[in-house]
Symmetry: D2
């Protein structure tokens, strides 16, 4: 059960509420986000929620039987919109593209990519400065210095930055230079990292685990929300299956299911979702047709020379063509 509190609820009103709940053996979790205050009450006893809903100081109350609560559409019917500033919004009705290299490599690469995005009116640039790599002997990214350099160039151009954070200690130093924190598939159940990102007033893009269920993804989002941050988007990036003809199995079914279950925006990553450069485009368009609110994809000035994952990265020419097709597909979908 979720109880949204009025902004000016008094101490005595709050006490009255909690004593009613503890009387019937409900556990109380107080949640304060950048936007509102909530009580998540978990218990087994059946009762008439109107007896609590009519108390003073309470704005709204709903039963939510899902394991996730605040991210559920059963609680909040209206879809979440995330405002990144400068007219950049993410959420139902506002299709957004996030594009850029797997890894931030050099000043020249940053400049070329920023220009490419500007030329094509793409407002959000992706790129990694901390890279999760299977082998300890692989390149792990340029780190905080690369991020600072990137931020300087991108913010001057009005381009927003999304990049992966891998550990709690990185959050504070990355904070001034990041517009969206990305949580990677390998950290999708790194609960301490999720907790910490709940304490940050920056949007978070949460990738589904390598073999994560839809339910686990929503519960991971609940970690962030219940720690105070409502600005979350979910990302389908392919799951691990028995099929090895491509890198990952993009779970197209997850898109309508997520749009039904949660009010959070749903982003699709076709680059990791298939992992085969020449098939990224049809998979991206399929994702939009299935209901995606945005696409995150890899583009590089010379994919063959990219530091990693070049086999799923589009050239600037290919990505320009796909940007156009994706926007047309989104418009077509909205008018169908």
């Amino acid at each position: 059960m979720i109880i949204q509190l009025e902004k000016d609820i008094s101490t005595s009103q709050y006490k009255e509420l909690t004593s009613r709940l503890t009387d019937i053996q409900y556990d109380i979790n107080r949640v304060t986000t950048q936007f509102s205050d909530y009580v998540i009450a978990v218990g087994k006893k059946e009762f008439d929620i109107r007896t609590i809903g009519t108390l003073n100081g309470i704005e709204d109350i709903h039963r939510v039987s899902d394991a996730y609560k605040l991210v559920s559409k059963k609680w909040r019917v209206q879809d979440t919109k995330i405002d990144l500033g400068d007219g950049v919004h993410i959420g139902t009705g506002d299709f957004q593209i996030m594009a850029g290299p797997c890894s931030i490599e050099s000043e020249e690469q940053i400049e070329q990519t920023v220009q490419h995005l500007l030329d094509n009116n793409v407002r959000i640039m992706r790129g990694g400065v901390y890279k999760p790599r299977s082998s300890p002997y692989s390149f792990r990214g340029l780190g905080i210095d690369g991020l600072k350099l990137w931020y300087k160039k991108a913010s001057e151009a009005g381009i927003k930055i999304i990049t992966e954070v891998m550990m709690v200690e990185q959050i504070e130093q990355m904070m001034p230079y990041v517009d969206i924190f990305q949580v990677g598939a390998r950290n999708s159940q790194n609960f301490n990292l999720l907790d910490a990102l709940g304490g940050v007033d920056k949007p978070v893009l949460l990738k589904r685990g390598i073999s994560g269920t839809i339910d686990e993804l929503l519960q991971a989002a609940e970690y962030i929300f219940s720690n105070g941050n409502e600005r979350i988007m979910l990302c389908e990036r392919g799951i691990r299956s028995y099929e090895k003809a491509y890198r990952n199995t993009l779970d197209i079914n997850a898109i309508p299911l997520l749009k039904e279950k949660t009010h959070l925006p749903v982003i699709v990553d076709p680059s990791h979702g298939i992992g085969v450069r020449r098939h990224v485009a049809p998979v991206a368009l399929a994702g939009i047709m299935a209901g995606a609110d945005g696409i995150i994809m890899e583009a590089h000035q010379t994919p063959e020379k990219a530091f990693s994952d070049g086999q799923q990265t589009l050239s600037f020419g290919e990505s320009k063509s796909l940007f156009y097709k994706m926007r047309e597909t989104f418009k077509f979908r909205e008018n169908l």
Copy 2:
């Protein structure tokens, strides 16, 4: 290596060809289909194929390194078109819808469905008269009598029939009443059934196995082709994964991959591909955007009362709306 023979190759020319191949220890498989004659030669020795290609009686020759040969696009660049008669074609550029109930249930149901398809200009009706069921105590379909009744009604209305064949013995009796034989997911590696369908001059729709790889699907098609039947279409119908939020995981990646690897038409089954009635539509549209040449889907006058699988079956109203959206999406894709 595939060698397509000229129609009027002489016995001595053929002998010359085969003796050249056996000289270098190649195994020879002669394939005669309803359209042409081929030799599939398999061996290890490297040699200049022009030494054979210039022999008399040979129309074309190609190396194909894939495990499948005749269904490979490396062999035949031009996509296969299947002509069902009465102006109904399946293949690249001709989008086709196949719709109807899971099981054929009654005369009344057939009449209502035929009328629904006529009203919406759908030319192919799906339905099961032999049903593969997990439990031996479940309804297994109306059998050959149901098929005859169905055929009478459908052919009068100019509607084509696609239905599943489960065993070799059924082929002959079903033959006069079927326009497309369907091989179900559970029989996708029933090699004797595939062999037998290779001997039939009727189109075959081959479903991917429940956890079949793309390569296994193409090799299963090779069974049919190499036994003499070139009129094959492939169907992605969802694979088995760890995710249980829906029935099967529609493998959207398989669609561009199959369109790349084979010249055969690719059909998508969104009903089994997600198995959740209210999400069939977005998944169908995604499948088209990814490159599908057709959609096979379940529709029933009263899905709640369908003999089986009602939870993935659309009502006539829902399917009417989806027919329109699918055609619009196909046109949009072709013009993008």
Copy 3:
């Protein structure tokens, strides 16, 4: 609900029973096997089974809520023993080894293998004469002539034969030369084949599907049993997972689960279960420790030269050592 009938139930007693069941809207399936007669009654209405259990002509009655009925241990508590004649039994307490090549290749190979089994007191020889192959251009086995030759040699030596049947039409001609019919993983839901094997009075070894669930395996066995054949054994042979470090993922968990759910013998196939020759032995011993009633495995005089699957086939020397270890492990388990 399962009702076992007395052997001498009269027509009027049977009528009385069925009218009672149809009165409460139960569907009736009469099952006659080589050993007994049953009625499987399926319905929704709750009632006191003693009102039926006390009728004349009824030997036993039980509710079974599982989707499978006659193969359930909830119905039959005592484990099934299969008597192959000549003192060879399969089932709880009688550990059996089935060994031999993937494919029957030649008279010499048969003779060598029979001698190897005789030398090591193994009573059952495996081998394929009809081979399911992914590619139509691969060797598909010696067929019925190979089987006849094999049977002659094996029966002279007192060795029993287990071999795969792939289609209904093969059953009759194979019948005189087979001691156990094997249903392969690709045919585990070939329901017509299962039906037909229900009409045969020969034991059947049923392999789990390539990605078959435990429940599907038990329902497949129910097909055979409910068509009249009680002599069934189940075989765990590895499932398809995302891991590609080996061929299949032997599902060790399935063994205690199957032994709990069914009274049928459970056999483990470590050769396909891991598919890596040098690791077949530890996996076989693990399978026994988990509760297997027998092992089916590949052995060949020269594995490197085997027609197929040589990479999972033991040499005679390796298999001799494993035979010893498996029997010791079985004895150890029984005394632990």
Copy 4:
């Protein structure tokens, strides 16, 4: 390529070595562990390793083509033994049991469990004080205070402690109270945590990811080793598959494969590996027969009342019986 340095290698000798390697464009990674110094040199150029192996200051040199290097058995043939003190060793030939509750709950629970282990001569107690939970509203463990209390009781009794660490910041405070750090399945690719545990001179048990490959597990271990900690053991705890008849699919194949590929000890977790209390025992014994060096399992004084996961936890009576059987099975295996 791995080059083990002599303890007293001089600066000039080291310079000579590295200049030789950089001359041929090899990347150099210097690794210093609690036991030795190594250089991991990665490059593409072929050369005769004896030209380097004969330099002064070099103890050993080997090519290792695997993605993992220092944990490979191609490098170190002799299996790693981990000495926990007080006569407790882990590694080939020393079978160890680690048992205890899912979560540390109370002083009384600790005392009862310690006594149970003492009574049965089990030397290592497992238990969680930081619990990874899918939902943020679930109990997350007693934290550092629980650990201190537990350590006091356990160390007095001579019982070693293994417990999960979830984030880098926890390591330092947990350090004095832990004998083995456990990395959970959800953190198996939390590379920063792995790096940090490489800097600690305490043994680490590394669980395989929920759908981690064997190769990923070995590369995760390489992270720890290459950061300075050689005392690592690997744990097979079941993978995520399509089968839902139990909680996870214990990958029995992984055990002989890991024993072949690495010199590190291999531990099996049958509790999570099947997740069904009444089947933990056969799966544990199978794991030993397949080659496990130890078992980690859940036991609780009253499983029905355990804070979490009670459905896979044995009672003290059940675990006493299993301790005996596991030791007998280990002895049997060693003598077979």
